[in-house]
Symmetry: C2
Subunit: 409 residues, 2 copies
Amino acid sequence: MRLSRRHFLHTAGIGTASVWVPGPMKGYTADEMRAMAPDGRVEPGVSKWELDTPALCLDLDNLDENIRRMQAAMTRLGIKSRPHAKTHKSADLARLQIATGSIGICAAKLSEAEALAVPGVDDILMTTINVSPAKIRRAMALRKRWPGFIQAVDAESNARDLSDAAREAGIVADVVVDVAAGTRTGIPAGEPAIALAKLVDQLPSLRFRGLLCYDGGAQHVKGYAARRERALRVMAPAAETCQVLARAGLDTGIFSGGGTGTYDMHHETPGFTDVQVGSYVFMDAQYLAIGNREGEVNTDFLPSLTVVTTVLNAHFEGVATADAGTKALTLNQPDPIVVGETGITYQARSDEFGTIRYDNPSRTYRLGDRLELIVPHCDPVVNLYDQMYGIRNDRVVAVWPVTARGRSQ
Amino acid sequence: MRLSRRHFLHTAGIGTASVWVPGPMKGYTADEMRAMAPDGRVEPGVSKWELDTPALCLDLDNLDENIRRMQAAMTRLGIKSRPHAKTHKSADLARLQIATGSIGICAAKLSEAEALAVPGVDDILMTTINVSPAKIRRAMALRKRWPGFIQAVDAESNARDLSDAAREAGIVADVVVDVAAGTRTGIPAGEPAIALAKLVDQLPSLRFRGLLCYDGGAQHVKGYAARRERALRVMAPAAETCQVLARAGLDTGIFSGGGTGTYDMHHETPGFTDVQVGSYVFMDAQYLAIGNREGEVNTDFLPSLTVVTTVLNAHFEGVATADAGTKALTLNQPDPIVVGETGITYQARSDEFGTIRYDNPSRTYRLGDRLELIVPHCDPVVNLYDQMYGIRNDRVVAVWPVTARGRSQ
């Protein structure tokens, strides 16, 4: 069955509800909502349409379904999930992922890992190397208090520095070698990676745990077949490296990589253990557009992350202005998708404002009306907000802080 | 004199210093720097190269010079500056602007205005209308405790709601009418704006103070002559509206608009009082590219805002990876400019990483080296950080919180 994007949005539990509420709205501020939810839970639920806008909303029913689908796939495919927390930056979401079967989380930056080392999140794989002496020492201090912390390395000098810092901290640190899937991060597969893995294995204060190989570019290749071909081809040299190391007697208990775009492909990669899925919890316009086995729309997971916005100007023909611009939605493409509308586009290309354009709308919007938008690219949007509102049946039932918001260091 | 961008960067007090520091760096975290600077001032200064990265840095000498140049221009042109705080979101910067001659600040969002209502910042013009009943009430509550708060309106229903809320709060609220310069915000010039201004003037709990007209699109028109032609042409209907209102006896003590791209043009607009300059304090790659009276590079103000980044990967020929991606620099174009380098490009197109490409470099970068980047577009970059480091002579002398960071509501 080939689904159109709009048809999918109408059948995926999003877009079927009324997209606006008539009459005055309360406009609850973030501070008011947090005061109502000292433990993160709001009782009784406030309508999401009554939040001050722009408001970042997370449909918890769709989130639960996404987690269920991912875990079912992992079970079926015989691999594990180690979700990347750079997507959500949320301690609550990390705990939920671990509690529902994921074997740990990943973190992209050290400050992010430090923020997400919370009870219930024992295992954290830091997928980016730490270079400065201060960051290396901090990483080892984190490892000392958080035994499930695993650090990526991709350079010999860095491995030696890490070993020195681990010794100084009085620990033996767990390390994976990041094998390059391009030229962005990692060390080339084959001899360079093998030599580095052996060095890590020999350094006195490091414990070699395996490999990491992340092909970011593969995630958004459009079309399932093309994406699978690229994903498996690019990962093959790392898989060969992994096999050489295994034959040499090194620990290859971790061979981690992939993402939401390739979650159902890397079980075919020999030795592969776990997929660093991130966006599957939220979905976004980018991941909807990559397609899946069935067609051009990726229906494997449901859009759960939206921004509610308010119309600020309706004076002009064919166009209206709303209050979510690039500071609320980023400049990522494709444009945000207006939930429940088929003849409207929304562009968030100015800092403070979004532009609604009418093509063939089911209705036009008046001053004060609200719209709900599926975000272009979930990771950097979440990073703009201090909290996301957990929604069930259009009502706020939780306020989750974006724990590692702004932690780009 | 026509200056090349690179020549300008080398003569503008930026790019002349060494762009990296050999040897180990401390990597001070934001928490450590804040602990050192309980009152915002750091003594003795830490080198900016020793900050944990990505780090948002503000050269205070260039900032001072930008403020001096703007105020000198205002004096010469016979208008005032009312800087837009959406650019810097900083209470410290707002205070500095007021202390050096600006007549007030502007705020784009109510939560931003609330955050920047601090001692030393008496006058705040809220340039965006507030629509929801809650926001209107909050705006009037702010006006009650902050007598210098002025609210924009652009719709009759909104003016009536505002008057009701002002009466409820027991105040008479100061209001300007936002006259459209396009179709984004504001009410059309001429009859609609005049009718709204008269309504505001008559409503019992509002006090009409004048007009606002902002042509965002004019700010980045390349070439001085083309920009001036557009700016004055688009502003003309608002100026005519202003004159009609003045002849009708209404208060037109405020006729505010324009920005950094048109700061030296609107003194030619009849009745114009003050320019809502924002980016002049920082400058960015976008504003460097618009040109000025002298040539293709806008040398009227000096780049003062930079991001310091660390090289994370140097394994591959012709390319390297650093730690500032879109979460540190946004996706805005043009790309960030590497300070002090003529043969290198930097692209921040992935969430966590930036890509350095060597074309004709003066040097190549090694693992752990640092680079300094002029940001693509200052407003949304500042919004990604919790603090900016005030720098003099490459040393941190102040840590300024980004007071209204994330205040997109």
